[in-house]
């Protein structure tokens, strides 16, 4: 019984369905009072997509999808603190405020769910 349930659960959260749910949520937010935060994260994430793919199919560039909000935030803070290992991410992280990092991390993390 447990096994069956687990199977059903796996089935119900396959990538297409999950991204559709995420999209539906985003659409919902963008039409409500919470639009400001969601939209700022999306606009900031447009900077990410100049180098990273949001479908996770990156070739040779570290993927940012599937990392989770906390890990993305701590990675950005680490990039902001040091020029190593990437001066590109260092320059980008230095240009973002704490609020902007939180906003873009929240947004990008939601894309991986």
């Amino acid at each position: 019984m447990t096994g069956k349930l687990r199977n059903r659960r796996v089935f119900s959260t396959r990538p297409v369905a999950r991204s559709a749910i995420a999209t539906a949520l985003v659409l919902l937010f963008s039409q409500s009072g919470a639009a400001v935060g969601a939209d700022q994260g999306a606009q900031l994430a447009a900077n990410c997509t100049s180098c990273h793919r949001l479908d996770g199919h990156d070739k040779g560039i570290p993927p940012i999808i599937g990392l989770g909000e906390e890990r993305l935030t701590s990675a950005m803070l680490a990039y902001r603190a040091s020029q190593s290992p990437s001066h590109i991410m260092h320059a980008i992280a230095l240009s973002l405020s704490d609020e902007e990092i939180a906003s873009v991390a929240r947004y990008v993390a939601a894309q991986g769910k």
């Binding site: 297409v16 999209t23 963008s30 939209d39 100049s50 040779g60 560039i61 001066h87 894309q111």
Partner: protein, 422 residues
């Protein structure tokens, strides 16, 4: 509200970001009409992000070519490392996924008072907002004797496509021991490191196939972008093969003689086996005709909205604009285009505005497995683009770091072109 087709539903992962950019829909309201002229990196990006930002905006992209070949990475083709087709992209996804109308005609004239664009087939397009991304044109008579016929003998290869293939064929059929002359343009020009990347990658090809060949760079400048990184690499990878002559040594290139395939400077004439002549540049032809360029030949804009300083209601992005520290690169064009799209979407739909972030990142090849990168962030300060943070690879980096950068460059190309055309 937009109804989702099966195809779009399947593409949701990629489209989710863009969906989130959409503000509240103004039901029943007539759609705002935005026309984008020019389907290069700046034009394609601004069209895509505007179309994705609001379903209440109707976007038409005017671009005569059916496909676009990127200038960036085309030096790999000149070195015989990649087919040019690998760097060629169509506009189908912009229509299929984002509902953009792509008109394959060239724009002949703009009437800012009537808010219309006339196409070469005689038809006109009306707009509420116009974005012009005209790229570059070559300055007339910048080099005596370098006309269209001369370009077929001594190619510029500064718009990727037939010219790139022509230069590649000439390099391939050149005999070992021949002299390849590269004429580098004065500032500002499209892609500051590119002439020197070109010399580097052609040198890597010569080293493999024509080890007695030489490369002579005749520069209109006395220094160039990332000069220490290039000259270090030339000494390490291609000792004795590349010679760079600044303008202060030669007096600058004054004329071209296509009949003898010669490049003429104030003090000497250099006869080439193959010559690549990159002329002085200015904003594209339409920008000049439409009064969007000032005396510099380039287009001043507001650094927040990218609205022309000379023609209200017309916006510009990409290589054609000036006003501060942003170089003329594909990455800058892409970054500007997103900021411009969000500013126009906010104006047309009343959605929230956020401070824009402007960046440049370039990966540059010194050899097939040796690349460097830079990263710059910009802010609008006193009406100009000001560089606020800037980093570039260092001469003393290990070969492993450079190999990683060469691999990252490939991944960047894939993600970047997906961002623009995918």
């Amino acid at each position: 509200m937009k109804s989702w087709t099966r195809r779009e539903f399947g593409c949701l992962t990629g489209a989710a970001l863009l969906t989130a950019l959409r503000p509240r829909m103004a039901l029943g309201k007539t759609k705002a009409r935005v026309v984008v002229i020019g389907g290069g990196i700046g034009g394609a990006t601004v069209a895509k992000y505007l179309a994705a930002s609001a379903t209440t905006i109707d976007v038409t992209l005017v671009e005569p070519r059916q496909v676009y070949t990127t200038c960036f990475f085309s030096n790999l083709h000149l070195a015989g490392l990649r087919p040019l087709e690998q760097f060629t992209h169509g506009y189908e996804a912009l229509t299929r996924q984002y509902g953009i109308t792509v008109v394959h005609e060239s724009a002949e004239a703009i009437d800012p008072a009537a808010k219309t664009v006339t196409l070469n087939n005689g038809s006109t397009l009306s707009y509420d907002r116009l974005i012009v991304a005209p790229g570059i044109a070559f300055r007339d008579a910048a080099l005596e004797g370098y006309d269209e016929a001369a370009m077929e003998i001594m190619p510029h290869a500064w718009n990727a496509g037939q010219q790139t293939k022509l230069l590649r064929q000439q390099l391939e059929s050149m005999e070992d021991g021949g002299l390849f002359v590269l004429v580098a343009p004065p500032n500002p020009f499209r892609c500051p490191p590119a002439p020197y990347e070109r010399a580097s990658l052609v040198a890597s090809y010569f080293q493999r196939r024509k080890p007695k060949a030489k490369i002579l760079i005749l520069d209109a400048k006395d220094s160039f972008n990332a000069q220490d990184l290039f000259q270090d690499a030339w000494n390490r990878h291609y000792p004795g093969m590349i010679e760079w002559l600044p303008a202060q040594f030669t007096g600058g290139v004054t004329a071209i003689d296509a009949k003898t395939r010669s490049v003429i400077t104030a003090g000497a004439t250099f006869k080439a086996a193959v010559a690549n002549v990159i002329p002085a540049q200015m904003a594209g032809r339409l920008a000049q005709q439409a009064g969007l360029a000032n005396q510099s030949g380039w287009c001043p804009v507001d650094p927040v909205t990218f609205e022309s300083a000379l023609q209200p209601g017309v916006h510009l992005v990409g290589d054609a604009i000036i006003g501060g520290d942003m170089p003329k690169s594909a990455f800058c064009a892409n970054s500007q285009a997103k900021a411009c799209a969000f500013a126009i979407a906010a104006d047309l739909t009343g959605s929230a505005r956020f401070p824009a972030h402007l960046f440049n990142t370039c990966y540059t090849y010194l050899a097939p497995d040796d690349a460097f990168s830079n990263a710059i962030s910009f802010k609008p300060v006193d009406g100009k683009f000001k560089s606020v943070i800037s980093f570039v690879s260092k001469v003393e980096e290990s070969s492993e770091v450079r190999r990683q950068a060469a691999r990252a460059a490939e991944g960047w190309y894939d993600a970047f072109t997906h961002d623009v055309f995918g």
